[in-house]
């Protein structure tokens, strides 16, 4: 595989509004492999980048169903199949007593899937990433807003993309080494 010498070109903006406008224009110009970085969540920014499928709710739903089934079947198997114990003459499969733990396991699995599903979909933890090579990128967690066009974009061409981003009037612009 031929390796592009550059990971992409990154432009820095002063405000959330400037970033969202720039993201919109870049996406409309036909760039598909782009990303934006901000110190806090900006409503609608991901949609401007062409992100429409958020799988987190589905992961949480599946986690919850699996958790509920695990909780119930575990209790059923342990109390009625593997080692049946007669407790106060109650039936082995005394389902009303199993509801609480089933509920707890549903929430536990759903919560764990929400956290780890989100991290996995985001590809985190990832301590190294090429964008960290840009010294000014440290401001992305503080008060600056960044837009990047990846070199893997079909429309990417080093000089043309640089000029296009320059036309968006960023505060600064830099190439991201890979």
């Amino acid at each position: 595989m031929k390796r592009e010498p550059m990971y992409g070109i990154m432009a820095e903006f002063d405000s959330a509004q400037a970033l969202i406008d720039a993201a919109k224009r870049t996406h409309e110009a036909g760039y598909k492999k782009i990303d934006a970085y901000s110190p806090f969540p900006i409503e609608g920014l991901a949609e401007e980048l062409g992100f429409h499928r958020d799988e987190v709710p589905l992961v949480v739903l599946i986690g919850g169903i699996v958790g509920g089934l695990t909780g119930y079947l575990m209790q059923y198997w342990m109390s009625a199949v593997d080692y049946p114990l007669n407790i106060g003459g109650k039936p082995y499969h005394s389902w009303p007593a199993f509801i609480v733990i089933t509920f707890e396991m549903t929430i536990l699995f759903a919560g764990i899937s929400a956290v780890f599903g989100m991290l996995a979909l985001n590809g985190l933890p990832m301590p190294y990433h090429p964008v960290f090579n840009v010294p000014r990128f440290a401001l992305a967690s503080k008060d600056r807003f960044f837009l990047i066009v990846f070199s893997s974009d079909p429309k990417y061409d080093p000089a043309g993309t640089f000029d296009f981003l320059q036309a968006l009037e960023p505060r600064s612009i830099s190439e991201v080494p890979s």
Partner: protein
């Protein structure tokens, strides 16, 4: 932000669950004896409720910190702290797609944690309510424990937040409105707790059960009667001053009322546990409870451990979510 404070306040008590040395028997692990826990017992429900609650609170708290840890990583000038915060922040870089999934996950987690708060206190109360001891065996316990938990939880949050707000000059973040809303929640849940006491007393009389009636009589006239009246004063009468707007907006008054409520909630547990048990069905098991040196040491030790954890947290990590505060800035507003 209040949610964040409540999550933090909720996580530390979870550390202090009693740990007798055979506590692991409560978990369904494949033991050599081939037996499994007895799932029809509320004690088992409690194990699952508390451990789920602790896990979800810890995850909720940590995930809320990840973007702030990234800020700390980028701001630190010392390589060691940079590496530590760098590892803890999981390589967070604030990508728009990441933020989108993050917010969905955080919202869902908050939604899942809310019924969990109700369930954990309900299940704790089952430990009592399923028992046959008079004073425990009552269906009012689950709702009244949940209300009591929110009541004392807000009192604890206020007792921590008021000094922190003053010392660190956070009046702009923890505003008068937050304090006032917390006071209103305490007032409302306090009235639910008062209703719980009322129903307990009423059922003691109305049930016609001699043992229940005796428990009520014993609370009002027994050897621990003074504590019961103190409970009513602390949890029901004094908090009524929160009807006065002026006191609701005064941090000092709120601090003292919160302290009184915490004492009251401690007395409530004492009355439920000790006063119910010291006059059991069998007169042969009657007695008086005097705390031993170890009881006192455990009690003081848990308070110390809680305070140590809180102080370390305040010192090392952002106590108010940084990125959530940023979204409130006018610069964060965007129009489509």
């Amino acid at each position: 932000m209040t949610l964040f404070a409540v999550a933090c306040a909720g996580i530390f008590p979870a550390i202090h669950v009693g740990r007798p040395w055979l506590a692991y028997w409560l978990f369904p692990y494949p033991s050599t004896m081939g037996v499994w826990p007895q799932f029809r017992s509320p004690l088992m429900w409690d194990v699952f409720a508390v451990s789920t609650y602790a896990t979800i609170s810890a995850l909720f708290w940590f995930i809320g910190l990840v973007p702030d840890l990234a800020t700390l990583r980028d701001r630190s000038t010392n390589p060691a702290t940079r590496i530590i915060y760098g590892i803890l922040s999981l390589g967070w870089r604030g990508s728009a797609r990441h933020w989108h999934r993050y917010e969905t996950a955080y919202l869902l987690l908050a939604g899942l944690a809310t019924p969990l708060v109700l369930s954990v206190h309900t299940v704790v109360s089952f430990d009592f309510a399923v028992g046959i001891v008079p004073g425990w065996h009552t269906t009012i316990f689950p709702p009244y424990f949940v209300a009591g938990a929110i009541y004392s939880g807000f009192a604890m949050v206020l007792m921590l937040a008021i000094p922190i707000r003053k010392i660190y000059g956070l009046e702009d973040f923890i505003t008068e409105r937050h304090l006032q809303n917390a006071a209103k929640v305490m007032l409302a849940t306090g009235l639910i707790v008062a209703y719980g006491y009322g129903i307990e007393a009423f059922m003691g009389w109305y049930s016609g059960d001699r043992y229940d009636a005796f428990t009520l009589w014993n609370r009002l006239h027994g050897p621990y009667a003074g504590l019961y009246y103190l409970l009513l004063i602390c949890n029901i009468f004094i908090p009524q001053v929160l009807w006065i707007r002026k006191l609701r907006t005064s941090p000092i008054a709120l601090f003292f009322v919160s302290g009184v409520i915490l004492v009251g909630m401690w007395l409530e547990r004492f009355i439920i546990v000790v006063v119910s048990l010291h006059r059991d069905f069998l007169t042969s098991s009657w007695g008086m409870y005097y705390p031993t040196r170890w009881d006192w040491m455990t009690y003081i030790g848990t308070i110390g451990m809680f305070l140590a954890a809180i102080f370390l947290f305040v010192r090392l990590l952002p106590m108010i979510s940084i990125f959530e505060m940023r979204t409130l800035l006018p610069e964060a507003e965007v129009k489509e």
